[in-house]
C-alpha cells in the first residue's frame, strides 16, 4: 500500500468513526428518555408520553398513539435554553465556568478509542477497524488516564462554588471516585493479561477467538460494572443526589445549562462505561454465534462486507443499550448506600477481589502455558 492511499483510508476511517462517535455522543439525550421510560415502567407508571407521538387513527375509537414521548429530549433542551443562567456572586468565575467543561470533555475523549466494527477490505484496500484512534497501543491506559482526569470537574465545581455544602459534596465525590478508580484499574488488567495487548480491538479479537470475557472472568466483569457505577455516581452510589440528607453535592450552586452539563456528563459516562464494559467483557462488536471473518472471506462480495460491518455496529450499540438498561434497572431496585458503606465496598470488597482476581488469572495463564490443564484432562479423561 502506498503512502497516499494509507493517508486517504486513515481519513475515511476517521470520518466514519467520527460520525458514529458523534451519533453516540448525541445519543445521551435519548439515554435520558430511556431512563425515564424504563424507570416509569418499573414503577407501574407510563413515563413521558405527551411530547411527540405518531397518531394511528382507528375507526370509531380514539386514535392509537405510538412512540409517545420521543420528542421529550428536544422539549427538555428547548426549556433549558430559555432558562435564566444564574451565577452566584461569591463564585470564582473562571473556575466556576471551567468546571462543567472539564466534566464533559474527558468523557467524550474516551470514545476515541472505542472500536465500532472490525477491519474490512473494500475495493482492494484494507480499512483498519472503525474508531477515531484505531492503532493506539496504549488505549486502555489512555482510558485510565482520562478517567483519572474526570475528577477535576467535580472537585473544581465544588471549590469554585464557594459554599460549604458544595465544597463538602465535591470532596465526598472526589474521594468516592478515586477509591473506585483503583478497583477499576486493577480489573482492566485481567482482559489485558488474557489478550496480551492494551489495544481494545486486540481484546475483542481475543474474545472472538476464545469466549467473551464475561464467561471467562465473571468476577472481573461484575467488579468492573459496579466500580463503573460508583465512578459515574449512579445509583446506588448517587450520594450526589441525596438532597435531603446531604444537601445534594458539588453542583448545588449551579443553575440552568451549566447545571445540565453535569447531567450531560453523567449520561455520557453511562454510555462510555457501557461501551467499555461491552468491549472488554461482552465481545464488543462481535456478533454472537456468527464467525464474521469466515462469512466475509467466503462470500467475497462488497455487499456482504458492508452488511457485516453494519451488523457489527448494530451489535455493539444493542449491547450498549442492554448495559444501559441494566444500570437503570439497578437504579430502580437498589437503595442508596451510606457513605461509610460506600467506602467500605470500594476498599474492602472490590479492591481485594480485583487484586485476588489478577493473581488467580496470572496463575491460571501460567498453568495453561505449562500444559498443566492438558495433562490433567488427559490424566482424568484418558
Amino acid at each position: 500500500m502506498n503512502a497516499e492511499s494509507a493517508g486517504q483510508l486513515a481519513w475515511i476511517t476517521l470520518v466514519v468513526g467520527g460520525i458514529i462517535t458523534f451519533a453516540v455522543i448525541t445519543g445521551f439525550a435519548y439515554t435520558t428518555l430511556l431512563e425515564r421510560k424504563v424507570l416509569a415502567r418499573l414503577q407501574h407508571r407510563v413515563g413521558p408520553n405527551r411530547a411527540g407521538y405518531v397518531p394511528i387513527p382507528r375507526r370509531g375509537k380514539k386514535e392509537r398513539r405510538l412512540l409517545g414521548g420521543f420528542m421529550q429530549p428536544a422539549a427538555d433542551a428547548v426549556k433549558l435554553f430559555m432558562k435564566e443562567d444564574i451565577t452566584p456572586i461569591y463564585v470564582d468565575n473562571v473556575v466556576y465556568n471551567l468546571a462543567p467543561m472539564l466534566t464533559v470533555m474527558p468523557v467524550i475523549l474516551t470514545l476515541a478509542v472505542i472500536p465500532w466494527a472490525s477491519s474490512v477490505t473494500l475495493f482492494g484496500i484494507d480499512y483498519p477497524y472503525l474508531a477515531i484512534a484505531p492503532g493506539l497501543n496504549v488505549a486502555l491506559l489512555f482510558v485510565l488516564a482520562i478517567t483519572s482526569i474526570e475528577v477535576y470537574g467535580v472537585v473544581l465545581a465544588g471549590w469554585s462554588s464557594n459554599s460549604k455544602y458544595a465544597v463538602l459534596g465535591g470532596i465526598r465525590s472526589t474521594a468516592q471516585m478515586i477509591s473506585y478508580e483503583l478497583a477499576l484499574g486493577l480489573t482492566l488488567l485481567v482482559p489485558v493479561m488474557i489478550a496480551g495487548s492494551l489495544n481494545l480491538n486486540d481484546i475483542i479479537v481475543s474474545q472472538q477467538e476464545t469466549a467473551w470475557f464475561t464467561i471467562l472472568q465473571l468476577p472481573a466483569s461484575i467488579v468492573f460494572f459496579v466500580a463503573a457505577l460508583a465512578e459515574m455516581q449512579r445509583a446506588p452510589f448517587d450520594l450526589l443526589e441525596a438532597e435531603q440528607e446531604l444537601s445534594s453535592g458539588y453542583n448545588v450552586e449551579y443553575a440552568g445549562m451549566r447545571f445540565a452539563m453535569f447531567f450531560m456528563a453523567e449520561y455520557m459516562k453511562m454510555i462510555v462505561f457501557s461501551a467499555l464494559w461491552v468491549v472488554l467483557f461482552l465481545g464488543g462488536y462481535d456478533i454472537p454465534f456468527i464467525n464474521e471473518a469466515a462469512i466475509v472471506s467466503s462470500a467475497d462480495s462488497t455487499v456482504v462486507t458492508i452488511l457485516i460491518a453494519a451488523g457489527q455496529v448494530l451489535s455493539i450499540i444493542l449491547k450498549i443499550v442492554f448495559s444501559l438498561f441494566l444500570m437503570i434497572w439497578i437504579r430502580a431496585s437498589w437503595p442508596r448506600l451510606r457513605y461509610d458503606q460506600l467506602m467500605d465496598l470500594g476498599w474492602k470488597t472490590l479492591l481485594p477481589i480485583s487484586l485476588l482476581n489478577v493473581i488467580v488469572t496470572g496463575v491460571m495463564i501460567v498453568l495453561a502455558e505449562e500444559g498443566v490443564f492438558n495433562s490433567l484432562i488427559s490424566a482424568f479423561g484418558g
Partner: protein, 167 residues
C-alpha cells in the same frame, strides 16, 4: 517543520503555565496551572514516541498527585498564598541560586550528550517491550519501588494516626 512549530507552541504554553503557577495568588489556581503544565509535558512524551510515559504522566501526576495537592490545599485552608516572592527571609535568593544550579547542570548534561537528546526517540516503545526491558535490566529497581511504596503506606499510617486521634 510541523513538529518544530508544535514544539514551540507547546513550549510557550508549558513555560507560561509554569510562570502563572508561580505568580498566581490563589493556591487552587496554581494547582490548575500545574495540571496544564503536566498535560503539555505528556504531549511532549507522545511526540518523543513514548506514549506509555505520557499516559503515566497524566494518570499519576495530573490524576493522582494533583488531587492529593488539591486536598492538601483544602485541608490546610492555604488557598491564599503570598505568591512568588514567598514569606521567609532569603527564600527568593535561595530559590534563584538553586534554579541557577539546576539550569547549569542541565546545560552541562546536554553538552555531554551533544544536544541531540531531544530529537532522538526510542525505536519501539510498546508497553510490551517496555515490560520485557524492565525484567531484563531493571528487576532490582522494580522490586525496590515496590518496597518503597509499601514503606510509603506504613509511613502514611504512622504520620496520619496522630492526625486522626486529634480529629
Amino acid at each position: 517543520m510541523g513538529n518544530a512549530i508544535l514544539f514551540l507552541i507547546l513550549a510557550v504554553i508549558a513555560i507560561g503555565a509554569a510562570i502563572l503557577m508561580l505568580v498566581s495568588k490563589n493556591a487552587v489556581h496554581s494547582a490548575l496551572y500545574l495540571i496544564l503544565n503536566f498535560a503539555v509535558i505528556a504531549v511532549y512524551y507522545i511526540l518523543l514516541n513514548a506514549p506509555f510515559l505520557a499516559m503515566v504522566q497524566i494518570t499519576v501526576y495530573a490524576g493522582a498527585i494533583m488531587v492529593l495537592f488539591l486536598f492538601v490545599i483544602m485541608l490546610l485552608g492555604a488557598e491564599e498564598s503570598s505568591g512568588v516572592l514567598g514569606t521567609r527571609r532569603g527564600q527568593l535568593t535561595t530559590a534563584l541560586l538553586l534554579g541557577a544550579v539546576l539550569i547549569g547542570s542541565f546545560v552541562a548534561a546536554l553538552g555531554q550528550i551533544g544536544g541531540s537528546a531531544a530529537s532522538s526517540s526510542v525505536a519501539d516503545t510498546t508497553p510490551r517491550n517496555l515490560a520485557i526491558i524492565l525484567f531484563e535490566s531493571y528487576v532490582f529497581p522494580f522490586e525496590v519501588t515496590g518496597v518503597l511504596l509499601l514503606v510509603a503506606v506504613v509511613g502514611l499510617y504512622v504520620m496520619s494516626s496522630r492526625l486522626v486521634k486529634k480529629d
